[in-house]
Symmetry: C2
Subunit: 452 residues, 2 copies
């Protein structure tokens, strides 16, 4: 049978389902990480979808690839899903480090944004981010930033999957005057993007402390009607929780619950402040948490109790946050940081094992975005959002377990190939839809302006 | 004037002295990171030493290099110093993850070591580690493991600088029967290595809970006589501190102090349990701390209060620990983890700024090892332990501050060139003294044996 792409790989880590059939190539029988991958299997891709996953010896007989790849040293895994980005802020990478959150925001980031925010800033910053994400194995990102129509257009143009934030904040910006206009423009953008196959939208009210009740009620209503996620910074710092408590006697999450926002559509980002009761409430409500460990560390925001949340049954996804507070869009680094940090925070080295970190960076992200029928695992019928990681590097030798190597030892530079909906965006480390010299030249121009 | 090597670089970050002369190229005047680097400067190397650091326009007139390098997109910095390794354990990378410390040690690591420990294990594991370290910009490592004479021989053979641990532990091993024999063999090895220019030695009693008073007293006496550092795991976990307190009423550090070991020769590794009094005691004694953030996280050992220690005036160096508990020997990752984690632990995003992390990975390591007259900074007269980092990658754009990019955004794969004592060990990513295919083949053979 003819298919668009046939990939023969040393390892395939589908993430879901855990066992396709136990009869087929069970992987090396190690005590810690058995049955999580297939060896010498192949992935058949046609019409942008995964149509088969089977042992290579059978794949050779059954399929003929228009393109055939032999990835003898590689693991294939689902494309990574970065569930919290401000892509355009990549232009601010490293412009202001090692500052207290409010000093950083009020004296550095916000003035720069105020001065330079424009369609061009968002376009060029998003392009740089998309290139970095593709090169690092990210196939889908969930963004929150000004000029979301530009972010969407660039994602479509370069072929990466994106969930575009329909932003809302009480303050005027160059993009909208007031919360009515934010919501109106958001709804119009949602309509406009409805038929883009790679794009979905999510409401993105900035945070409890920057969006008042009225717009939040409207957003809740529209989110229910349109079945859209709500992507929001929640309990990022102790400071914001204490301020709200001092003002109203209520913690922000409680207010969100009373407004009806704590439900399966909520992606609560950061969540460094969580009581056991709040964890229970989030779990019962089916709300999602987006954990951003490196941003939380860098801004000294606090520690999200990830192991407790997972144990309670909350779906926890991963995000890098913007490059201004990370300073990269590296989901390999974020998986590793999440796995390491969770152990120390829980006081238990068994917390967030490697496979759990990989799930957080893939299927959990897809679930949070309502995209788990589309992406997040190498499951037959899903879109072919696939990445290949070369594990033959010296730094990933000896190899006892490919999942351990991917999470604890590999770097994102070991990603060699990336497909989104079957289209190859990275080919042996080369971007196929973007010109890297142009991107660097643009970054250089912005550097001149912003550092001036 | 003829010199062996002349390197023209886009940036040079000497680490020390902070300002060679303020008149020369002060760097971009950014608020956060001014005066930490030179632009368009050159490094002249002769007879294994740094003989000059000057603006490139003058260097071209003054020097003729037998080898001349133009590193137009690169930062030159001192080679990184990994102050805590068990190099040979690289063969155990990823063989047992996500386990509690004692389960990990007693049921996985120790039985494997017991079964396989040999000269061949140490030789092959150390080779793999040295290759990984060189490729990642590490020019000096401080090791603690069995068969230290093999580790020393491999370091000499491949040209990397090393501080070799003269190990001691109360238990018999394939290397020595009892603490007398450990110390005797250590002293003999120290004598034997005395004239190796790249090698120094340090006593390496394993930990307070595994070495009794008598051998520690002897070690203290010999360390005083020979002016050697003492490299020891101290207060790695709460558990070990509580056990000692329950047994003797004393915390381990107090016992070490009473034995006279808390002094400027002590490198106390881990130190996740530290009271304010103990911090003061360490500072007053001039003892050093080796912080291993990723190992401490992965084994859920606890958090070293790094910012407090630095504020108290303690010299804090960095180490990766062995690859079995990290799972890499990546000092770029370790700098980044140290900077990020310190902020969250201190609750202050200003803690451990990028330049401090770079100092911890260079000059602080040299000070801890008593090598600060030899290495740890690009200072005229010191050995030419130099690395070049290519900052032109998309992932380090735009570039406002090279120090920020090195610590927060760059990966170790951006290290292109490495010199130790003027000898080039990495040339445009190629190892000059090691065969990478042989190393991978050896790692594959050990994998077969160890996983069997």
């Amino acid at each position: 049978m003819q298919v668009d792409t046939l990939i023969h790989a040393r390892w395939i880590i589908p993430v879901e389902p855990d066992f396709v059939t136990s009869a087929i190539a069970p992987g090396i029988a190690l005590p810690l990480a058995s049955q999580q991958w297939y060896e010498h299997h192949s992935l058949a891709i046609d019409g942008g979808r995964i149509v088969d996953l089977l042992p290579t010896e059978f794949a050779r007989q059954k399929y003929q690839g228009t393109v055939t790849e032999h990835l003898d040293d590689h693991a294939l895994l689902p494309g990574l899903i970065n569930c919290h980005t401000h892509a355009a802020m990549t232009l601010l990478r490293g412009i202001a480090d090692d500052l207290q959150l409010m000093d950083w925001l009020q004296n550095h980031i916000w003035p720069l944004e105020q001065k330079w925010m424009s369609e061009a800033f968002v376009r060029d910053g998003t392009d740089l981010a998309i290139a970095e994400m593709i090169r690092g194995g990210t196939t889908c990102f969930n963004d929150m930033y000004f000029f979301p129509e530009i972010t969407a257009a660039q994602a479509v143009h370069y072929g990466i999957r994106a969930s575009i934030g329909l932003i809302a904040i009480d303050f005027p910006s160059v993009w909208a005057e007031n919360s009515e206009e934010y919501i109106e423009k958001g709804l119009a953008l949602h309509d406009q993007l409805r038929h883009e196959p790679l794009i979905t939208t999510a409401f993105a009210p900035h945070a409890p402390y920057t969006v008042s009740d009225e717009p939040l009620k409207k957003i809740r209503m529209f989110a229910d009607e349109l079945e859209l996620p709500i992507h929001m910074h929640v309990h990022e710092t102790l400071h914001e929780v204490e301020q709200e408590q001092a003002k109203t006697g209520q913690r922000p999450l409680q207010r969100l619950q009373e407004l009806g926002l704590v439900n399966p559509s909520l992606l609560a980002v950061h969540m460094t402040q969580l009581s056991d009761d709040e964890i229970r409430m989030m779990a019962e409500a089916g709300a999602h948490i987006v954990h951003c460990p490196e941003s939380n560390l860098k801004l000294a925001s606090g520690f999200c109790p990830v192991a407790k949340c997972l144990d309670a049954g909350i779906n926890v996804a991963l995000g890098t946050d913007g490059a201004a507070s990370n300073n990269d869009l590296d989901m390999f680094g974020e998986m590793r940081s999440a796995a390491l940090l969770a152990k120390a925070v829980a006081g238990d080295a068994r917390a967030v094992p490697a496979m759990t970190a990989l799930r957080m960076a893939t299927i959990n992200g897809a679930k949070a975005l309502g995209l788990d029928q589309v992406t997040g695992s190498l499951t037959i019928g899903k879109a072919a959002d696939v990445i290949a990681v070369d594990l033959s590097n010296l730094e990933t030798q000896p190899l006892y377990c490919p999942v351990s190597q991917i999470v604890y030892a590999a770097g994102r530079q070991q990603v060699t190939d990336v497909w989104v909906a079957g289209k190859r965006l990275l080919n042996r480390r080369n971007l196929t839809t973007m010109n890297i010299d142009d991107l660097k030249a643009k970054a250089g121009e912005w550097r001149q302006r912003l550092a001036a």
